[in-house]
């Protein structure tokens, strides 16, 4: 039986460096990562006919089109919120390809969190909550801060082994708040 799994494929992956102070706009980060993914796939911007991101992403699809040189988007969608919605973006893109709504879908996400909005002092409400949940999780399960380092290889591995269900990618910052672990969204 044909399923979404054998009708679709991830053909390229791209990213920028992960930094505390990127020095670039979120739009530029999205464009750099998108270009890297296109290069990885051996595709050009004109091949893209669909786009997916989170509802909380600040980069308008039209700005991606205008700057990257995409000729025509036939289909776009956004998945609610961010964080754990990452898997839903892939699901949305796969559904579009399987249904014929689009052939090649760009999934993008760019965020100047630490660079753009002070860690632990949420303004919009979505930037500061999850690190605290990570700390709560960490101590609740008897993990030390170093354990959060283990999350990163898992995220880059074949599957995300993260029971929290949602939350940011984490890395250990020993001096962020004494000996407590802290996380930043990458």
């Amino acid at each position: 039986m044909d399923t979404i799994l054998n009708q679709t494929a991830i053909v390229g992956i791209g990213q920028t460096e992960f930094s505390k102070f990127s020095g670039r706009s979120e739009l530029q980060l999205a464009l750099e990562a998108s270009k890297a993914a296109l290069d990885d796939a051996g595709l050009s911007p004109a091949d893209i006919d669909g786009a997916v991101t989170f509802t909380i992403d600040t980069n308008d699809e039209a700005d991606l089109v205008r700057n990257l040189g995409i000729r025509e988007l036939r289909w776009t969608a956004r998945t609610t919120g961010g964080g754990g919605g990452a898997s839903a973006t892939v699901q949305l893109a796969a559904a579009a390809v399987a249904s014929g709504a689009a052939n090649t879908v760009l999934i993008y996400r760019a965020f100047n969190e630490r660079s753009g909005q002070r860690f632990g002092q949420p303004i919009g409400g979505y930037a500061g909550g999850t690190p605290q949940q990570d700390i709560h999780f960490s101590f609740g399960f008897g993990h030390a801060g170093e354990d959060l380092l283990d999350v990163v290889p898992a995220l880059y591995g074949e599957i995300r082994r993260d029971e929290r269900g949602s939350g940011p990618l984490c890395r250990h910052r020993p001096r962020a708040c004494g000996d407590q672990p802290a996380c930043v969204v990458l």
């Binding site: 670039r24 706009s25 530029q28 911007p45 700057n67 040189g69 100047n112």
Partner: protein
């Protein structure tokens, strides 16, 4: 870090600046980080002479309040080869025409200096 900062710095200096790709030379407006033709991130600021022609326009009036100062919002075909949206001043709406030659000037609008256009004084 805002992609459009150079544009407003230009306006402060009395210049209309347009991004020019350092790799392929293409101009782009409005400002953005990447060249849509060659995906280069390198660019310089090209100073426009500010001459062009009206490609389209609307008369913008406040929808619910008396508005004696209706504005002409126009899409300008700059002779540089890109389009930009601005306002037309020193012309009445009834005298507007497609292709009308226009030129740049700077004017304070509600406390902010903006690039504006007016019918070209040169033939």
């Amino acid at each position: 870090m805002r992609d459009q900062d150079f544009f407003w710095e230009g306006v402060s200096a009395g210049k209309l600046l347009i991004q020019k790709c350092q790799d392929c030379g293409a101009l782009r407006q409005p400002p953005g980080p990447m060249c849509p033709h060659c995906q280069s991130l390198k660019w310089t600021a090209h100073e426009s002479r500010g001459r062009g022609a009206v490609a389209a326009w609307i008369i913008s009036k406040h929808p619910t309040q008396p508005d004696q100062n209706a504005r002409i919002v126009a899409l300008i075909d700059l002779e540089d080869g890109v389009r930009m949206i601005s306002n037309l001043q020193h012309v009445s709406p009834g005298d507007m025409d497609l292709g009308m030659p226009v030129e740049l000037f700077f004017a304070e609008v509600n406390g902010t200096v903006l690039p504006q256009f007016r019918p070209s004084l040169e033939a």
